[in-house]
Symmetry: C2
Subunit: 400 residues, 2 copies
DNA sequence: CTATTTAGTTTTCAACCTGAACTATATTGT
DNA sequence: ACAATATAGTTCAGGTTGAAAACTAAATAG
């Protein structure tokens, strides 16, 4: 009950306004706004904006980029943009690969390296060592390009405790209750590295770089080995009480359904997880990516077993989405992960199921398939880091 | 995307700290803290607390209550408490009755009046007139007791838009898209009257005056004519994108289930709504309260039809709760509304169902039955108003 | 080349918290 | 009784901050 609410101090005002100005610059990536425009956009006086911008320029987060001349009368303003000489690193540990990438403050992915690596069952230490090597390559390249790294985000396919930097459970990696040495990855970055759930990262990537531009509230459902998800409410990720919300894979969609590895019955994952779809479609065992490709071929050639398998998965995804939409008053659904490859076949089944179980709640036009590729989680993790920098620029300021 | 984030001004600091101090006083209802204790609790200096308290006392929200002598050495502090001479009004429009009550700032329900009234199908204007009469009685009593009314909250069984003060749809009242004249109810109260959903109000009452003292995160499921609900996350109501989250009644719990009035199939309401339970239990038609009483008798006497009907409702409530708990990472469930009367029979079924479909997520000890009576929604509505006063005391201050 | 318009800076001022010194009022020990 | 001590609360100087308004800077229009 007794949350330690910090007292408001005079300095808080500046902290907030620094972030407000920085955010205003970030929201207009093309315009390169002048101080005067920022003053109008934020409601702060020109004097205040000047003072705040001076701090931001000094800290290196913002650059002046020549005159902003638009043919109008009067003195031209000086264009401002987020510095492209500051960046954050997005990282991903997945079952089959590791990856790391550099996102500059402007939101451009400047570097992206992937390393094939079978991580299932490997020790966290050895995987982290591999990742640290990959990251140091990226860091070296960034350094060569004159880009200073401020922080990073790491996406892991499992339930995580971001605050503690621990992985509670990552079934597909066979990790349980491991504390990751996040400090190793970016030892010099002032904001450090923060751990996040992979599906949540992908949901956020979708928000910032995908369909989030159209939808403010949606359920993101990501097919992987399991079925993960993320809830975006008001253009923000809903993380839940312990940061582990969005686990749509174990919603009950068929009370009389088969037993699930979680101990329950009739979970969505039993119908829409990779193994379930492959089995139903008659795809022989093998590497996941290869089986997925074969499923795609079967679908394209109209194979009935594949078509029914995917339609069944879509049907149950629709049921889970219908319940979620009703419960949380959501109006859109975005499909990601392996569902993207089945997009043309699974989306109609989801639409039909939604129309059947929750008519009028999610219109067909608001069932979308992600267009971000395999980099979604990495982009999301980097984006989280980027936004945490933009949210608290004060610490980089001389007085911070 | 472009949320109008207000710039931070110097005065915001005081606004926040006024609320912080007021909140600190509210959190210690028994202790009647001194300024020095508040200083320690909030982290503000004694000087700042003194200045803030002076404003709060002047505005009438806080009273000094004699010396705080605890046998220790040193000058005794002056006890502070939320004024019992300021209050808010909770109001409820339901199918069978209207009610209004006065909650003082200390959180004590001082007055509570109920008026039997068949409101189903009545015009909003006539119902509001009846309610306004009831409220003016309460206001007169408050005035006689020297209590100044600051604001009010009105609970209505339907989907509402609180900001606009409109009822989107209240099926059981037969209201659709009506704008309520909330200003009529408490014309002199500086904070006005705010409209809320009944189930959400009940969920909040549970939070503030019921099991919320034990649980920080839970799903509240309220059986009424329909099945409503409320999601409490981190001791706060999760309202959703348009303030209409928590509609657990239309989650899909049985894909092959019967058609529902919402247009879907297999909704929870089809199994756990009043009509469904009465029909299954073989309770003849009649007034709702009377049928509920008869159901209670049948249950107590061990009537098999009644027992299976309630067990079946509990089974499906458990499925919906399991899905919700998984999706949102919740760990507790509170049953309210008509489920309270069936508590001893329905709770075990819910527990069993949860253990079956989401083992280890919600422990049996965390399935609770509400102990608040019919006044839950009213208490919640009043509590919302009370908290909005405590959150923005600045407007009552001389400088506000 | 002056008037006008827009950008950005400087100056003055008020709000408000901190920190330290100070006053007020109690208990304890002799 | 009375000094010592401890705790509560107030007063006042100091520093940070943004608002408001005056001012400087730099462009275009005629």
């Amino acid at each position: 009950m007794n949350e330690p609410v910090a007292p408001g101090r005079v300095g808080d005002v500046r902290r907030r306004n620094l972030s407000l100005v920085l955010d205003s610059i970030a929201r207009t990536p093309d315009a390169k706004p002048s101080r005067a425009q920022l003053s109008a956009a934020t409601g702060l006086t020109k004097a205040a904006v000047s003072s705040l911008v001076a701090d931001l320029v000094e800290s290196g987060l913002v650059s002046e980029v020549g005159l902003y001349r638009d043919g109008e009368r009067g003195r031209p303003g000086v264009g401002l943009e987020l510095s492209t000489r500051r960046g954050v690193v997005g990282m991903e540990i997945n079952v089959d690969y590791l990856s790391a990438g550099l996102l500059d403050l402007g939101g451009t992915l400047r570097i992206h390296r992937t390393l094939e690596s079978g991580n299932r069952g490997q020790s966290p230490e050895s995987v982290m060592s591999l990742l640290a090597g990959l990251v140091s390559d990226v860091a070296a390249e960034a350094s060569a390009a004159g880009i200073m790294l401020l922080g990073g985000g790491l996406a892991v396919p499992g339930l995580v405790d971001s605050a503690a930097g621990t992985v509670a459970t990552a079934p597909n990696l066979h990790w349980h209750g491991v504390a990751l040495q996040l400090d190793r990855l970016l030892p010099d970055a002032p904001f450090g590295t923060v751990l996040h759930n992979e599906a949540n990262c992908a949901a956020l990537a979708e928000l910032w770089y995908g369909h989030g531009l159209d939808f403010r509230d949606y359920l993101f459902i990501s097919g992987e080995v399991g079925v993960g998800g993320g809830l975006v409410i008001g253009s923000e990720l809903f993380a839940g009480p312990r940061g582990q919300a969005g686990e749509v894979g174990h919603m009950v969609v068929e009370p009389s359904g088969p037993d699930c590895s979680c101990g329950g019955h009739g979970c969505l994952e039993s119908f829409a997880g990779q193994e379930a779809i492959f089995a139903e479609a008659g795809i022989a065992p093998g590497a996941a990516s290869e089986r997925l490709a074969r499923l795609g071929e079967h679908l394209a050639s109209g194979d009935p077993a594949a078509l029914t398998a995917v339609a069944r998965a879509g049907h149950y995804v629709g049921i889970a989405a219908a319940s979620t939409a009703r419960l949380m008053n959501l109006s859109a659904v975005v499909l990601g992960g392996h569902f993207t490859q089945m997009g043309p076949w699974i989306a109609p089944a989801v639409v039909e199921s939604l129309a059947d179980y929750a008519p009028g709640v999610v219109s067909p036009a608001r069932v979308a398939v992600s267009e971000l590729g395999q980099s979604a989680a990495l982009l999301g993790a980097a984006g989280i880091a980027l936004r945490s920098v933009l949210a608290s620029p004060f610490s980089l300021t001389t007085s911070g």
